[in-house]
């Protein structure tokens, strides 16, 4: 665990670590360049850990379940999933919405908080970004799994085919393609650009040749010159500026998949904002779900302080309240608009075949969240961890309820039917979660999970703060 000894000429910061002026600092007191660097880099450069091996092996096994079930669905047909007419959209769509939502926190933290000059982002943005990329990537798989003929998925891309036909641009599914693809690409750029200086740091820390070459080439020969920094910071700021509207647009577009239809229960103008809020909600829940164990495991207590959890909990609470408002408005509009179909479906949601999921959703997203008003809960990492975990469950049920319950009681009673997931649906959901954590494990082992340069900047500012 301890950082390897380094030949470093002494500098007075190491001699006299400064106590942070305020008790409630973003960083724990007494941090210096060397210590932060050591703490962060340790997780990457130090020798292999048994815990890590066990974990990644376990998650890899679960990912296999994912790949097996996907192969099976491709081979036999989507009919093995719990879908039918009228409920032609099933688990895969619910999973897309859920994963994309999770994929939103990262960019939000990195971009919006950066623009808002929220210093506390620095300790968590890096792995939150990684989380975003992996979640968005997995979310990008599910629409393809959902297709009846996945091998023709590329027809949704505009290219000069010799059929002479093009995508149908009025379809929100085409918008999805562009939104999700853009989101994934921009997230990767954002993440990588932020990573370059730290890769350089790792290059210069590492003693083994292969590590030097590996990080050396990844950081593109970063020298950290003032001019580099100037342009780097400008690009980074622009990315943040672009990512902020992007992150809002992505989940709005996802929401439009539903909102532009005429299905009672889908057709609702409140969907875009309420989906975005839901995204932040579940996203932050996932960040906490990951940050808590990460922090304990790599002893990052001095980088990721209770204040971080406190702030994240507050954002969660805020997002949660918007989501609750969304629920309320849905019912209010159904009543106020006097649309009998919308009214009927919203009542069936609460009382019909999908009621259990509906009540789980309310319990987790409405009741449980209220505990975040209590500072005690926000400050208690493991309590918060539990809440976050349940919020993830609640948010999945929300997607499930919206996607499956709405069409099951639409316009013509003669066509009504219900549909639930089969084992394949659950296999793919669980498998995708396993795959996600498999990727996270790879990331924390190979790349700095916290932004070194930004934390150093923070250290310097804290010193000046006296």
């Amino acid at each position: 665990m301890a950082p390897r000894a380094m030949v470093t000429p002494m500098s007075e910061h190491e001699l006299a670590p400064v106590a942070s002026p305020r008790g409630d600092a973003v960083l724990a007191p007494g941090q210096t360049f060397a210590t932060v660097e050591a703490q962060i880099a340790a997780s990457v450069l130090a020798g292999s850990r048994r815990l890590w091996l066990v974990g990644i092996a376990g998650f890899f096994a679960v990912s296999l379940l994912f790949f097996y079930s996907v192969t099976y669905v491709f081979a036999v047909g989507v009919g093995v999933m719990g879908v039918n007419i009228p409920v032609a959209w099933g688990f895969p769509i619910a999973n897309v919405v859920w994963w994309i939502g999770i994929g939103h926190a990262g960019t939000l933290i990195s971009a919006i908080l950066l623009l808002l000059r929220q210093k506390w982002r620095t300790s968590i943005n890096r792995f939150a970004e990684a989380m975003t990329i992996f979640a968005a990537g997995i979310a990008g798989l599910f629409p393809i799994i959902h297709l009846g003929r996945p091998w023709f998925a590329y027809w949704i891309v505009p290219y000069p085919s010799n059929m002479g036909v093009w995508p149908q641009w009025r379809s929100p599914l085409v918008w999805d393609l562009f939104a999700i693809a853009t989101y994934i690409i921009v997230s990767i750029l954002f993440w990588y650009v932020g990573l370059i200086p730290d890769l350089a740091t790792l290059r210069d820390r590492s003693t083994r040749r292969w590590q030097q070459v590996f990080y050396g080439s990844l950081c593109l020969g970063w020298r950290g010159s003032a001019l580099h920094w100037r342009r780097h910071q400008m690009a980074y700021l622009i990315l943040a500026g672009l990512a902020t509207p992007l992150v809002v647009s992505v989940h709005s577009v996802i929401a439009l998949d539903f909102a532009v239809t005429i299905v009672p229960g889908y057709h609702s103008t409140v969907f875009p904002p309420y989906f975005v809020a839901g995204a932040l909600f579940s996203g932050f829940a996932m960040v906490i779900t990951i940050a808590a164990p990460l922090r304990a495991w790599f002893h990052l207590e001095r980088l990721i302080t209770p204040r971080h959890f406190d702030n994240m909990a507050k954002v969660m609470l805020a997002a949660g309240l918007i989501v609750i408002y969304g629920y309320a408005i849905e019912y209010f509009m159904a009543w106020y608009s006097g649309d009998p179909f919308a009214r009927y479906i919203l009542i069936r949601r609460a009382l019909g075949a999908y009621a259990p999921a509906f009540w789980v959703m309310l319990a987790c997203n409405v009741l449980l969240v209220q505990t975040l008003w209590l500072r005690r809960v926000r400050r208690n990492v493991w309590l918060l961890f539990a809440v976050a975990l349940l919020v993830n469950v609640g948010m999945w049920s929300e997607r499930f309820v919206i996607v499956l319950s709405s069409p099951h009681r639409d316009y013509l009673p003669s066509a009504w039917d219900v549909s639930f997931g089969t084992n394949w649906d659950y296999a793919m959901l669980v498998g995708s979660i396993g795959f996600f954590f498999f990727l996270m494990f790879l990331f924390i082992r190979w790349l700095p999970a916290v932004s070194i340069s930004e934390v150093k900047e923070l250290v310097r500012e804290q010193r000046e703060a006296e």
């Binding site: 690409i185 210069d204 920094w229 100037r230 400008m234 690009a235 509207p245």
Partner: protein, 181 residues
């Protein structure tokens, strides 16, 4: 001034302990008449590049142009395919259903802007550049960790090792060394 060409030297580099020391020194370089100066820090030090008289904000313009271009191209693509090349009645909506074309236009604008910004940054910074003379400088490995460096290139109009040496020392450099080209 008249100085013999020192082609075997890339420049003189000085190591500082703190960002403030570096910054202070940087502020004096221009007064001392040095132009080809560069500072190296493990994290962005506010004011440094201004102090060194760097005013390059082309990245912003590149990003803006990229966004505008790809956004317009995006709408043009939709218009051409849906209205000119193969108009098909879909849902009784007009061929140019512009409201429905906006999401894709927007996403493409963002994509274009982001790509332009990053590529622009890399190109302007001359990256990737895995090999660079400055890497030969002693202790330079700490430039990305906890030390701060300043380099005056041999190209500089009034490059004079001895003068620069004691200029750096006066600035409080911990050590000064020569970087061979």
């Amino acid at each position: 001034m008249t100085q013999p060409e020192r082609s075997d030297i890339y420049g003189l580099i000085a190591m500082f302990d703190t960002a403030d020391a570096l910054l202070a020194c940087a502020r004096r370089t221009r007064a001392a008449g040095y132009r080809k100066v560069e500072g190296y820090t493990p994290f962005p030090v506010a004011g440094l590049s201004e102090a060194l008289g760097q005013r390059d904000s082309r990245v912003a313009w590149i990003a803006f142009l990229g966004a505008a271009a790809s956004g317009m191209a995006g709408y043009a693509l939709q218009y051409w395919t849906a209205v000119i090349d193969y108009p098909i009645v879909s849902g009784g909506k007009p061929f140019n259903s512009w409201p429905a074309f906006l999401p894709v236009t927007f996403e493409l604008a963002v994509l274009g802007g982001a790509l332009a910004a990053v590529l622009g940054m890399l190109v302007l910074n001359g990256l990737p550049r895995l090999h660079h003379p400055v890497f030969d400088a002693e202790q330079f490995g700490f430039a990305t960790r906890n030390r701060f460096f300043m380099l005056i290139e041999a190209e500089d109009a009034n490059f004079d090792p001895e003068a620069i040496q004691d200029f750096f020392v006066r600035c409080g450099a911990r050590e000064v060394s020569e970087v061979s080209a």
